[in-house]
Symmetry: C2
Subunit: 153 residues, 2 copies
Amino acid sequence: MDKKIIQELIDRYVAVSFQVQKKAEYLIKGQIGDDLTNDQHYILRYIHQSNDCTSTELADAFEVNKSAITAIINRMADRGLIQRTRDVNDRRVVYLTLTKEGNTLYENCQEKVQLLVESIITQFDETEITTFINTYEKLAQLLINKKQEEREE
Amino acid sequence: MDKKIIQELIDRYVAVSFQVQKKAEYLIKGQIGDDLTNDQHYILRYIHQSNDCTSTELADAFEVNKSAITAIINRMADRGLIQRTRDVNDRRVVYLTLTKEGNTLYENCQEKVQLLVESIITQFDETEITTFINTYEKLAQLLINKKQEEREE
DNA sequence: AGTGAATAGTTAAAGAGTTTAACTAATTTA
DNA sequence: TAAATTAGTTAAACTCTTTAACTATTCACT
């Protein structure tokens, strides 16, 4: 690929990924209201999806220090959204789960996000969007590998 | 499209966009070091790209309040990266530009980001990536329209 | 079995980013 | 020209993040 073309693609990619991220967060925030910050919403989703979620796992996924996770979890636990449970076999490990209230809030958010996304996703045909997500996932994998490489140096 | 398929696409999309964002920020941070936070890096890029950039424009682009922009710009101006200039015709308006130091830092970052992105972008063929970015840009446009609609309600 | 290293998580302090509300100063409009 | 609007700032309160030091537990090894 020509260097100039690459440069152009980078500029387009940077601009568009930025826009999509910010606008999507704006629209979702508009849907779910002030109950959750963006970060708390991501955490809520992540814990709901994951089995036996731990602080370390979250810190890796979010690329922040474990103490940043502790702080967020504290706030959400104070509000009764998240529960901590010690592993019986390895008592260093603390599992994070959603409380009943946390789950209800998740369901609420998910419903609203779904309505929003549906109204947009239906403007693509299925092939276009699966092709898009396939490439996106390939990109994600390459980035994960790249991180792995850097770690090993 | 079937409801179930949509649901699956949403889950894949949410997961992958999240991963790409976090890993990309991690890798870029690894390249440019501790000179800039992620947000400051975005601001630096944005001001470099834009002509006659103002706080209001940044606040719109980043979907935050103007006072959040003031705070970041203050920090970067204190470090001598950004300059404020009043508009001669409309003296309410303040234009933001990069100083010489700001520009040097930008060039530096851009070079490093480019090396990183090149090493990844070359693993796609050109058709795949332009198709990807086209769809991405279509998505961005839909989100922008959606925001516009909501504003008008 | 016992010592040293590694692992999971927390705490505290300092700084960065955000929101809200109140404010100044300049411009528009009616 | 008075009233409303616009661009930007300030201050207080809060969230998020990093660094470094810490506790508690488990692993590895002789």
